[in-house]
C-alpha cells in the first residue's frame, strides 16, 4: 500500500511538478498565468502528435515545450503588451487550449504513440521500497527530479533570475538600472508555459500513454494553486505535487481494494487535501507573494 501510494505520487505528480515550477518562475516575475492548464493540454497533444508522426517521444517532448510556450506567449502578449487583466486572460487562454486540443486532437484519440518507457536504474532500482518509488521511472520523471533545484538555482543564483525576481517585486529597481522589466516578464512567462507544456508531454506520452479530450483534467489549475502553497519556492512545489498525486494514488488504491465508500467521495480526497493545506498555510504564505502580483488580484482592471 505505502509503496503503491508513494510510487503513484511520483509518477502522477511529475506533470504537476513541471507545470508548478514553471508557474513559480512566471509568478516570480509578477505575472500569474491561469492558462497553465491550457499550456499543459497543448503540450500533451503536440507531444503526442509529434511522437506519432516522428516515432520519437523525445521530439514530441520538445514540440510539447514549444506548444506550451507559444500559448503562454499569447498570454504574455495580452497581459504585458495590451494591458489585459491577468486572471481573465489566463482563463480565456485555458479555454482556447481546451478548444484547440479538442479540435486538432480528434484524429489522435484512438492512435497509439511510441511512449517513453521506464528506465530502471541498475542497482538503485533493486533497493526495497525506494527503488520502485524513485528509480524505476520514465526519463522525463528523472528530469523532473532535477527541474526544481535547477529552477531554484536559476531564480536565486543566476543574473537572469535576479532580474525576474526584481521584476516581480519592484520593477522600478530595474528601471533605475536601465533595464526594462517587460522583456524579463515575457521570458519568465514563456519559460513557465514551456515547462507546463513539458508536463503535458509527460502526461500523454509517459504517464497515460494516450490522448483523450481535456485529459489534463485540472492538473494545471492545481499547479497554480500549489505555487501559493509553496510560497513561490520551486523546491516546495515538488512536495505539493506529490502530496496531491499521493492523495490520488491513495484513493485509487482504496478503490482497487474494494471499499463501501462511494468513488465520488474518494475522488474528492485530493481536492480536499489541497484546499485544507492551502487554508492552513495561506496566512503565512501571502507575505511571501511577489509584490507586483498584488495588482493581479484587482478585478476592477
Amino acid at each position: 500500500m505505502i509503496e503503491a501510494v508513494l510510487t503513484g505520487a511520483v509518477r502522477g505528480g511529475t506533470s504537476i511538478v513541471f507545470a508548478g515550477v514553471g508557474e513559480t518562475i512566471a509568478e516570480r516575475s509578477g505575472v500569474t498565468n491561469l492558462g497553465t492548464e491550457g499550456s499543459m493540454l497543448c503540450g500533451a497533444l503536440t507531444a503526442y502528435a509529434v511522437g506519432i508522426e516522428t516515432g520519437s517521444p523525445w521530439l514530441g517532448a520538445i514540440a510539447g515545450i514549444a506548444a506550451g510556450a507559444i500559448l503562454a506567449l499569447l498570454h504574455a502578449a495580452l497581459v504585458l503588451w495590451r494591458g489585459a487583466n491577468q486572471v481573465a486572460t489566463g482563463l480565456a487562454i485555458t479555454f482556447l487550449g481546451i478548444g484547440a486540443t479538442s479540435l486538432f486532437g480528434q484524429d489522435y484519440v484512438s492512435q497509439g504513440v511510441e511512449p517513453f518507457t521506464p528506465w530502471a536504474i541498475p542497482g538503485l532500482s533493486d533497493i526495497p521500497l525506494l527503488g520502485s518509488v524513485l528509480f524505476d521511472h520514465d526519463p522525463l520523471t528523472y528530469l523532473s527530479f532535477t527541474i526544481a533545484p535547477l529552477a531554484w538555482w536559476f531564480l536565486f543564483r543566476s543574473a537572469t533570475g535576479l532580474k525576474i525576481r526584481a521584476a516581480g517585486e519592484r520593477p522600478i529597481v530595474l528601471s533605475s538600472m536601465g533595464i526594462d522589466h517587460r522583456p524579463v516578464r515575457w521570458l519568465a512567462v514563456a519559460i513557465g508555459g514551456g515547462l507546463a507544456g513539458l508536463g503535458g508531454a509527460q502526461l500523454s506520452t509517459a504517464f497515460a500513454r494516450t490522448w483523450s479530450e481535456n485529459m489534463v483534467a485540472g492538473r494545471g489549475f492545481i499547479a497554480v494553486a500549489l505555487v501559493i502553497f509553496a510560497a513561490w519556492n520551486p523546491l516546495l512545489i515538488v512536495l505539493g505535487a506529490y502530496l496531491f498525486s499521493g492523495a490520488v494514488a491513495f484513493e485509487l488504491e482504496l478503490q482497487a481494494r474494494g471499499t463501501d465508500v462511494s468513488i465520488f467521495l474518494l475522488d474528492a480526497i485530493p481536492y480536499v487535501v489541497v484546499l485544507a493545506v492551502l487554508a492552513l498555510m495561506s496566512r503565512r504564505r501571502t507575505h511571501a507573494a511577489p509584490e507586483s502580483l498584488a495588482s493581479v488580484f484587482d478585478a476592477a482592471a
Binding site: R82, G83, A84, G99, G218, F264, V274, S282, F297, A299
Partner: protein, 344 residues
C-alpha cells in the same frame, strides 16, 4: 479620415471589430484543421436559425450563462474573482432537487417552484460561503478556492446521482427521477421557459442594486480601494463575504433554471462549462450587468451553433470553445475603451 478614425475609436465599434477578428482567426484554424470554414459557419448559422425551436434553444441557453455571468459581476464589483460559478450552478440544481424531494409533490406548483428557487439560491450561496469563509478566516485566495470547489461540486453531484438519488428504472446512464410538471418551470413558447424572464429580471436587479443602493456603492468603494473602504468605516470582511454570497446565490438560481427548465432531471455532466462561459460573458462586457445579457446571448448562440459544427461538419463540439475564448481575448486586448497598455 478623422471621422473614420473617430468611429473606429468608439468602444462599441472596437468591440465589434474584436468579435469579427475572432471569427476570422477561428476560420483560419478551421482551415488548418482541413475543414471548410464557410460551410462551418453556415452549419453554425443554420443550427441556430433553422426553426423557431433552434432559436428558442439559444434563448434558453442564455439564462444559465447570464446568471453565471452575474455571479462574476457582483463579486467583481468588490474586487473579488468568483471562478466558482461552475460549482455554484451545480449545487443550485442539487439543492433545488433536494427541495423538490422534501416537498414530495404535496405543494401547489407556484409554491413548489418558489421553494426550489430559494433552495437553489441558498445552496449556491452556501457553496460560495465556503470560499468566503476560507478567505475571511485563513486568507485563502478566493480565485483558488472557488476553482477547487468546482471539482468538489461535480463530485458531490456524481455521488448523489449514482447513489441515493439514482432512479432505479434508469438504464445505462444513471440519472435521477424526472421532475414532475409541478416541479418544472412553465413554458412560455416552444422550449422557452419562464426562467428566461427570471434571468433578465435578475440582470436588471443586479444593475439597480450595484448602482442605486448603499450596499452596491460600498462594494464599489471596496473594489476600488480597500484602504478607502476601511477608512470610511466599512466592515470590509463582511462586505466581501456578502458579495461572494450574492454571486453564489445568482449562480445557484441559474442551476435551478437549467435543471427545472430544460433538463427536467439531474445527471452527471449537467451544465459542464456553463460557469466558465459565464465568466467569459461577464468579462466580454467588463462586468456590466445589462450588457451581459447581450454577451450571454452571443455566447449561447456560439454554443448552440457548435452542435451544427459537430453534426454537419463532424468537428468536436468543444471546438467552439476556441471561438468563445478568441472573442474574449480580442475584447480584453483590443475592445472597449482605449486603455494604457503599459500599465502592467
Amino acid at each position: 479620415m478623422t471621422v473614420l478614425r473617430r468611429i473606429a475609436e468608439r468602444p462599441s465599434v472596437r468591440t465589434l471589430g474584436s468579435v469579427v477578428a475572432a471569427l476570422v482567426v477561428f476560420a483560419a484554424l478551421l482551415v488548418a484543421k482541413g475543414a471548410d470554414p464557410i460551410s462551418g459557419y453556415r452549419a453554425m448559422w443554420d443550427s441556430i436559425t433553422r426553426d423557431s425551436g433552434a432559436f428558442g434553444d439559444v434563448v434558453v441557453r442564455t439564462s444559465p450563462y447570464l446568471l453565471a455571468a452575474l455571479a462574476v459581476v457582483v463579486p467583481a464589483r468588490a474586487g473579488l474573482f468568483n471562478i466558482g460559478g461552475e460549482g455554484q450552478l451545480v449545487i443550485g440544481a442539487v439543492t433545488a432537487f433536494a427541495a423538490a424531494e422534501v416537498l414530495d409533490q404535496h405543494a401547489p406548483r407556484a409554491i413548489t417552484l418558489v421553494v426550489m428557487a430559494i433552495a437553489a439560491m441558498l445552496g449556491g450561496a452556501a457553496w460560495a460561503a465556503l470560499a468566503a469563509a476560507l478567505r475571511e478566516w485563513t486568507g485563502t485566495n478566493e480565485i483558488i478556492s472557488t476553482l477547487l470547489l468546482n471539482y468538489l461540486a461535480t463530485l458531490l453531484l456524481g455521488w448523489l446521482v449514482f447513489g441515493r438519488w439514482k432512479d432505479p428504472t434508469s438504464t445505462g446512464f444513471p440519472r435521477t427521477r424526472s421532475l414532475t410538471d409541478a416541479e418544472r418551470l412553465p413554458i412560455i413558447w416552444g422550449r422557452v421557459h419562464v426562467g428566461v424572464i427570471v434571468a433578465l429580471v435578475a440582470a436588471v436587479v443586479v444593475w439597480l442594486v450595484i448602482n442605486r443602493t448603499a450596499w452596491g456603492f460600498k462594494l464599489g468603494v471596496l473594489g476600488g480601494n480597500v484602504e478607502a473602504a476601511r477608512r470610511a468605516g466599512f466592515r470590509t470582511g463582511a462586505l466581501a463575504t456578502s458579495a461572494l454570497l450574492a454571486g453564489g446565490a445568482l449562480a445557484g438560481l441559474g442551476g435551478m433554471l437549467q435543471s427545472s427548465g430544460v433538463e427536467g432531471q439531474l445527471r452527471p455532466g449537467i451544465m459542464v462549462g456553463y460557469g466558465f462561459t459565464g465568466i467569459l460573458a461577464a468579462w466580454m462586457v467588463r462586468q456590466h450587468p445589462l450588457k451581459a445579457i447581450l454577451s450571454s446571448f452571443v455566447l449561447a448562440a456560439v454554443a448552440v451553433g457548435g452542435n451544427g459544427l459537430k453534426i454537419r461538419e463532424g468537428l468536436s463540439a468543444a471546438s467552439v470553445n476556441i471561438l468563445m475564448a478568441l472573442m474574449l481575448l480580442a475584447v480584453l486586448g483590443w475592445g472597449g475603451a482605449r486603455r494604457s497598455a503599459a500599465s502592467r
